[in-house]
Symmetry: C2
Subunit: 331 residues, 2 copies
Amino acid sequence: MKKLLDDPADAVTDSLTGFGLAHADLVRVHTEPVYVSRAGGPVAGKVGLVSGGGSGHEPLHAGFVGDGMLDAAVPGAVFTSPTPDQIVPALLGADAGAGVVAIVKNYTGDVLNFETAVELVEAEGSQVTTILVNDDVAVEDSLYTAGRRGVAGTVCVEKIAGAAAARGDGLGAVTEVAGRVVANVRTMGVALTASTVPHVGRPSFDLPDDEVEIGIGIHGEPGRRRVPFTGAAEITRSLLDPVADDLRLADGDDVLLFVNGMGGTPLSELYVVYGRARGLLEERGVTVSRSLVGNYVTSLEMQGASITVLRLDDELRTLWDAPVRTAALHW
Amino acid sequence: MKKLLDDPADAVTDSLTGFGLAHADLVRVHTEPVYVSRAGGPVAGKVGLVSGGGSGHEPLHAGFVGDGMLDAAVPGAVFTSPTPDQIVPALLGADAGAGVVAIVKNYTGDVLNFETAVELVEAEGSQVTTILVNDDVAVEDSLYTAGRRGVAGTVCVEKIAGAAAARGDGLGAVTEVAGRVVANVRTMGVALTASTVPHVGRPSFDLPDDEVEIGIGIHGEPGRRRVPFTGAAEITRSLLDPVADDLRLADGDDVLLFVNGMGGTPLSELYVVYGRARGLLEERGVTVSRSLVGNYVTSLEMQGASITVLRLDDELRTLWDAPVRTAALHW
């Protein structure tokens, strides 16, 4: 295993240390316990937004801490849920008196540990609502999850809820709009290669040189099926169709199309998939009015991509367009 | 070979088509011949900025077309120089009456084809200056190059010259400041794995599972030496020391530190290298006042990274901080 790391046991903290130094204008990295908060601290009267989950999906979530998005992020070990003792100070620190929304990807460990942490901070008088993200249409129930998994659609939830909080919406309104994103966002992914967890030292699964795994999870969990590799057009269709069908996209719908890289796939290939997906949506009479293409919810150095579609309405579009200033999203 | 492409012969145009659709607010993609220009066209009275080179290094250069950076980019085939017939319309289209600066990475084919194109547009009455970027300290002369290669430092040249042009500097002043960046920027890279050119279909070189190539070029050209893989700390030192020595960095210098991914390395590892490099610079008494970490000048899906250091002065810092709105850099 060759990785730009030293002791695999320090992979997460070494990376966070560099991240904190590179983005000192945006974030503070805390180490005991490990979590990341906004450099400026909570904004008085603003609803706080906190997310977290296993590491290995960078820039998710710490890359989205800043103005107009998250107030704190809680990274666990690689592909491992953060613990309640990490989540508690992140939640408390994000509470500026208006309550906190916890955005949790639907993995059993994340759900349980956030639940425990939320109970603890509620006991201290904080008001917390929890939004469960479960955008992955590939499988119902899987390794680590009861129900659908939460994957790249999380970026849409964090961006839009972050914008709602930044404009001054209250806890109920931010929770409502976050829930509306969850209800309207779907994702499906493909792996071309497996990734290697640093402290394991060997690829998480075997995938032959001429096959891809359709419906892969962001930890390399099995997807729907392995199929022979046949090129971008067919792979794009096998991801986009289930997403569009699950959303019941109809002629006249307006969407955000997000093509996400799994970490090891060149940007140039993601744009090929984007072009193909856009063609398929247009065939359905769907307008793509907003776009995002890049590596935002990754699986270490896995080669592959996912396609996320978010059905937009005027408010979601306005909140998506609102200014954001984080390490990974900035406009 | 598994890549998210269809016909390898269409890899560049398929990708550019998707890129143009995703960023229609920023760019126009032209196909006969192939080049990318700003969506709004040239800004009257502003010095134009044009760059180009082989594809496979995305987001370089098309990802830097927009406000405050390039007016046009000319992508060749993968790892192949663009031809004069592509470069000519890009230069002419970028000329809004104040002249054009061509930013060229030092590869023999790029240099010759830009020279030919510049002569042609000068014959039509345009004024063009050329800035040659040669920041790679790894080797003098190599495959494809006489003299040092141009690599990730190109991003610094394009950003800072773009800001100078955007604030209204004339042709002489933009050329001067671009030259000042070239004089003060140095880079060195490492490869952990090789990449595969789509129409070739096999890796560009062989690298054993336990070795890395120090001083690699962005086309996989040989570097200084192959060494056993020993972790991020030692690799970082073997890249940073030659860069710092060549720049004669001294106690009290203020720099931009840019850790660039080669395409297939996770962001989390780039931050580890960033943290190590920053420590080494601080040992030398050097202050890191600006930072950039991410995949900006890539080599397809190659795993690896490069370290770029730019010595800053007040003007370069101001121009770096100036607003930029492109697909790949935005603040």
